[in-house]
Symmetry: C2
Subunit: 417 residues, 2 copies
């Protein structure tokens, strides 16, 4: 008989983790490398151990609860991330970690040929340090020394912040997973968009994860007196930045298969009576098609250089991240699609507009993702919501996918591209 | 014989005050309501007392050193402000205060019919509290309860910050100067623009101070996931703000007799992977012609409303300041012009593009200003510079203007409009 997810316990776990949030901050706020995140991690670690898993933080800062396989076969990785954006919601990341924990509990007395790793990948969301997916990048050997040297607003480098959560930045190779070292990596996540809801479906097998290019643009003008400097004698970094914000938006609007965002702006000296001397922008472009990302970036850079040159503003570009689009292993996508359709006849396939840790893991082994609906498509905000039945159905799909991989997946791992 | 400014002592005072600056901040940083500002005030107060002045802070937070007049005639006010912008220079404000102190010293043993007030007006520069010219507004009865309720980044209101520097926000009427209560208010200042230098002149009598309208624009959109929200479903407050920044710049560029600036921008949540939910902009428009200020503001507001409506972003406007243009009293302008031409045959008359405390005082009594050159027109930056000879010449002009007012000015005060 098929084991079942313990509905009440999963929902109670989701409530308990959502209650761990930075005091005074909106919604659920467990930004990586902050005290609320550390508290969430301590809570999770205790839960992992109560479920009979051996819990440890690896060199890449990932909290992993392990169970050995009866046949010594490579592990099946299930999980997501416990960090959130500032003012985020209850389910982005947390659902995937706690559903994985619920799967481990439901299978506790079930023989499994493969090992099972319940994973809380470190720092999936982009933080003020300027890098996202820190833990899954470490597993994939993709975390660069440039990224480790980035500094957050508290003055610490990513390496120092990583060490503070129990990672070992000087021994990142110990965290790295070799190709073939896992049988499958599966992630349950909320869709964070409106398409499941529009299709009246409750489950989706994810057909691909968009690639993301993230850059920081640094514009340097000149801080002059706002009252005495004629308009034609200014080197206004904010006006140049405004033109770049609008140009990127226009480029993305003109490209149906891509989206782009400037989510962050910092101006100096940021005083009403001084012409802005410098502005830093964080920009990102997302698409399933690398060519479109490259085209938009090329056009943005060309326009930004011309805009800055015309204003006597200098432009510097810092590459923060360049994650390629990631496709699921075909056999695993088929396996997950079958599980989803069995549980929900209306289940669909969807690409993911959001980046996920699974995008990095796809480079080293077979991966797949399952989506459940987001009410109104809202995410990264306190209003983020998914119905309890959909949360539990998603966890059940994850469980059944694990059993299907355990039953037959190993014979197919060589077929992955 | 004409008394003379003590050159060495004035220059040493300017050095000493410039050395009082926030640790680690660029240039000279004595932002009002910060510890460095308080330290500068303590230093100044001791200097005022050493010069034989009775020093006190009035209800409006102005530090004033007083000397009585021999004939009991109303005082002549001389001074400027000791606060600076963040990362400002050595002379903006400081010159006017320390030159006034040098005048008081040079005239210490000289009989004067009028009283003499050496003034350090509080918080001339716009701070993060969102209001400028706090002290001179208090003297003119122009400080609104709205302005007193504004809060700075430290959470204090302007009223609380005013109290912390020795002011009495609940007794502002005590600071208020009635019309006719002073014989003249004179301010020496650096030009902060390039025109004296271009004219090869060392002194200017100021023909008028521009009016300034300062507003805060609050744009509220919706914080959605930057990866899953289609471009046409966004309510991006930063993109709307960018359009407003460029519109204000274009309006000012099209209006030769006006300038305008967005000097400050704050975005929330300001994370790379969240569509910006809200943006606050501080905008200002300056002109000698109130009609041009009103026209630009009207066009900006109309455009901003349309831009926000098209994006599903709400717009709120908070008026911060609306200082009318200020003209000097004609008799006092003539008097100052004569003094300047006597000391520098190439002296000119100039309007001031910058706002000054004198702009508020002009509403209640006869005022005039004297400018000395700014090298390269630079100001509000560490590079701000004026030659020592020009600094001393400006102070000497201030001294001679005080003596001229004391000799004959009182008979003319009734002629001011």
């Amino acid at each position: 008989m098929m084991p079942l997810i313990d509905r009440a316990r999963l929902l109670a776990d989701l409530d308990a983790l959502a209650a761990i949030s930075a005091p005074g901050a909106p919604g659920v706020t467990r930004v990586a490398f902050t005290p609320a995140f550390d508290e969430g991690r301590r809570w999770l670690r205790a839960r992992f151990e109560q479920a009979g898993l051996r819990a440890a933080v690896d060199a890449g800062g990932n909290l992993i609860g392990r169970r050995e396989g009866d046949s010594g076969l490579p592990p099946i990785l299930i999980g997501s991330h416990s960090d959130t954006v500032f003012g985020g919601g209850r389910y982005d990341g947390a659902l995937g970690v706690l559903a994985a924990l619920a799967v481990a509990r439901a299978l506790r007395d079930q023989p499994l040929r493969h090992g099972l790793w319940v994973c809380d990948y470190l720092a999936e969301e982009a933080t003020d340090y300027g890098v996202a997916c820190v833990g899954s990048q470490a597993l994939a050997g993709a975390l660069t020394t440039d990224a480790l040297a980035l500094r957050g607003p508290d003055g610490r480098s990513v390496a120092e912040a990583l060490r503070a959560v129990g990672g070992a930045p000087e021994h990142l190779n110990e965290a790295r997973l070799a190709p073939g070292s896992f049988a499958a990596a599966l992630e349950l996540h909320i869709e964070q968009g409106p398409r499941l809801e529009r299709a009246d479906a409750r489950l989706a097998a994810v057909s691909g994860i968009v690639g993301i290019r993230r850059v920081r643009l640094l514009l340097t003008g000149q801080p002059d007196h706002a009252g005495t400097t004629p308009m034609d004698a200014r080197h206004d970094a904010l006006a140049a930045a405004a033109a770049i914000v609008l140009r990127l938006e226009a480029l993305a609007r003109a490209t149906p298969e891509a989206i782009a965002t400037v989510g962050r702006i910092e101006a100096r000296p940021n005083q009403g009576n001084v012409v802005p001397a410098s502005v830093a922008l964080a920009a990102e472009i997302r698409s399933l098609q690398p060519l479109l990302i490259a085209q938009i970036w090329g056009a943005l850079l060309e326009g930004a250089q011309a805009e800055c040159a015309a204003r006597g503003v200098t432009l510097a570009v810092q590459a923060l991240e360049d994650a390629p689009p990631a496709l699921p292993a075909p056999w695993l996508f088929d396996l997950v699609s079958n599980v989803c359709r069995r549980l929900d006849p209306r289940a669909i396939a969807l690409p993911s507009g959001a980046g996920h840790d699974t995008g990095y893991l796809a480079a080293i082994g077979p991966t797949a993702m399952i989506f459940v609906p987001s009410v109104g498509g809202r995410s990264h905000c306190p209003e983020e919501h998914t119905s309890p039945s959909d949360l539990v159905l998603g966890a059940q799909a994850l469980l059944e996918a694990v059993l299907a991989v355990d039953a037959g997946g190993t014979t197919s791992t060589d077929e992955t591209e």
